[in-house]
Amino acid sequence: MNDHSSRVDLLLVADMIEKGARVLDVGCGDGSLLQILTDQRQVDGRGIELSQSGVNGCVAKGLSVIQGDADTDLIDYPDDAFDYVILSQTLQATRQPREVVKHLLRIGRRAIVSFPNFGHWRIRAQVAFLGRMPVTKNLSYAWYDTPNIHFCTIRDFISLCDELQADVEKAVALDRNGSAMRMNLPWAVWNMFGEQAVFMLKRHGIK
């Protein structure tokens, strides 16, 4: 879906995962994150990817990846099948983001979700002052050809977590340069200045 190699959230996500964990990467693209996790964290990693060329490349690298769709294929996986289920920069391209996040929480003991923050001030400014759909460095599509159909802001995502009774275990916002913003800032600041967000969630009540 996106070019993994230039994505700043990859190493951040990798840092959240302990060695040897069972990991499912939903929308794994060319397999960059799975490769990092396999090489550096020795995880038992699996992937789902929509694009056939992405899948073929992953399998040729020796990664366990299947061609599939986050919207329709997560239902096949049993509860608690993985320690971590990752949805990296894919949420906004799903048809039913709420259902997808529900499945992530069901399949994995932890769900890690990263997404572009549509509440960032540059995006707000483009809509407010130019009256145009925003096009930025990280979101470079025009409105008519974008695969990203369900954008949300950091605040929107937090309220979805509340609705799904998911606990936010970790949350990191990334600024324009890809560095993590200081943790103790209020949500409103993150929502304004975070270009991307990475959340680690779990079902309420589980360890």
Partner: protein, 399 residues
């Protein structure tokens, strides 16, 4: 058909008849006290299984790959076929430096039970009657084929296979291996296959069988006793089946409506079109190397295949707890085993928590694509095999 051609055909068919009992490959014999118990309840003894090997078994006996052949294939994967004189059927994938690298792995391929190239089947001699078994041979299943292969591996002292791979009916055997002997399979590559044979596929097989049995030369299956073969029936069966191995696109690309060596239609039932001539050739060359009764038995085995039946209809339950890693591949233009069949396998493996890779390969070559030079299949298999070899601590490829 000219006189010379006929005698050439006869030489080849005599050769194939000889191979049924005395294969030019290695063969493992099982005596009267070592029966093979079949799904139909029959205890087959004595029996034999013919096989080829390539490469060297390592000290740990951990580098063995079993290749399972398809309906009309045989054990001659990567050597010159003793009957046809042509190269083996999977030289694109098996050999030095190929994905199934004979420099790194010990590769075994056995002729399946019920076939006619040296493993017991209807063309073999029945030790009791000293006549060919013909239709008195018990009906075999895919699981029977796999049991026979397991007995061969026991003989060879191979407890665990590094990989089992095959396409079409070979893929059925791969799935059956993973289901029946989960502890003996480290990795599995089922290609262009399904966990069950579809109604449409059974229908095509029935057409083929009826063509064979409608040929008066079939003689109720006992044609060998009459010194004759149901050549016409088997050729028609092959022609019909061959269409299902191709795709409409490939037929159009290769033949279109082009005429065969003529400028205009002859207003007759000659093979005016190139496609007719091609199919006739396919039918003719097939009967020279394949036994008609074997064709009945093997198509039947495929028809009976429904892996989920072993587990009360739930395919995921078949693979429950499997530690094997799977690589499933399908081809976009394959309408005999379409991608949805492979996807059903993948879904079941996911539900069972198995490690699985799945690619759908874009091609217009239809079902036969798994036998042909497909760079994506090549890259996929190589990547999967290399990763599996690392996981099993086998040496890296030297090139």
């Amino acid at each position: 058909m000219g006189v010379e051609e006929t005698s050439g055909h006869k030489a080849q068919s005599d050769l194939s008849r000889h191979e049924a009992d005395h294969p030019s490959s290695a063969v493992a014999h099982f005596a009267a006290h070592e029966p093979l118990m079949l799904d139909c309840g029959f205890a087959l003894a004595p029996w034999q299984i013919a096989y080829q090997t390539y490469g060297t078994l390592n000290k740990d006996r951990s580098n063995a790959i079993l290749i399972c052949h398809a309906l009309t294939g045989d054990q001659h994967v990567a050597n010159i076929n003793p009957v046809t004189g042509k190269p083996g059927w999977w030289t694109s994938m098996v050999g030095a430096g190929k994905p199934f690298d004979t420099d790194r792995f010990f590769i075994i391929c056995a002729n399946v039970l019920g076939s006619c190239m040296g493993t017991s089947g209807p063309a073999s001699l029945n030790a009791t009657t000293q006549n060919p078994w013909a239709v008195d041979f018990p009906v075999v299943t895919i699981r029977d084929m796999v049991r026979a292969q397991a007995r061969l591996l026991d003989r060879l002292g191979i407890e665990s296979l590094f990989c089992v791979a095959g396409g079409s009916m070979g893929g059925m055997q791969v799935l059956q291996w993973a289901s029946t002997f989960p502890d003996r399979v480290f990795s599995a590559i089922p290609l262009a296959t399904g966990a069950k044979h579809s109604a449409q596929n059974i229908a095509f097989h029935e057409v083929g069988r009826q063509a064979v049995m409608a040929d008066p030369d079939w003689h109720g299956g006992h044609y060998r006793m009459q010194g004759i073969r149901p050549e016409k029936g088997l050729a028609v069966a092959r022609m019909a089946a061959h269409i299902t191995y191709l795709s409409e696109g490939a037929l159009h690309r290769k033949f279109g409506r082009r005429l065969q060596d003529r400028a205009a239609p002859t207003f007759s039932f000659d093979a005016d079109f190139e496609i007719e001539s091609y199919l006739r050739y396919q039918g003719r060359s097939f009967v020279e190397r394949f036994d008609a009764n074997s064709y009945l038995y093997l198509t039947r085995a495929m028809d009976y295949f429904d892996l989920a039946d072993d587990a009360g209809g739930k395919l995921a339950a078949v693979f429950k707890g499997t530690k094997a890693r799977f690589c499933v591949a399908s081809f976009t233009s394959d309408w005999l085993f379409p991608t949805r069949d492979s996807r059903a396998i993948v879904h079941a493996l996911n539900a069972a928590g198995a490690s699985v890779s799945f690619v759908e390969i874009e091609t217009d070559k239809g079902h036969d694509a798994f036998l042909l030079d497909e760079p994506v299949l090549f890259a996929t298999t190589r990547g999967f095999i290399d990763a599996a070899a690392r996981a099993r601590h086998l040496p890296e490829a030297s090139r």
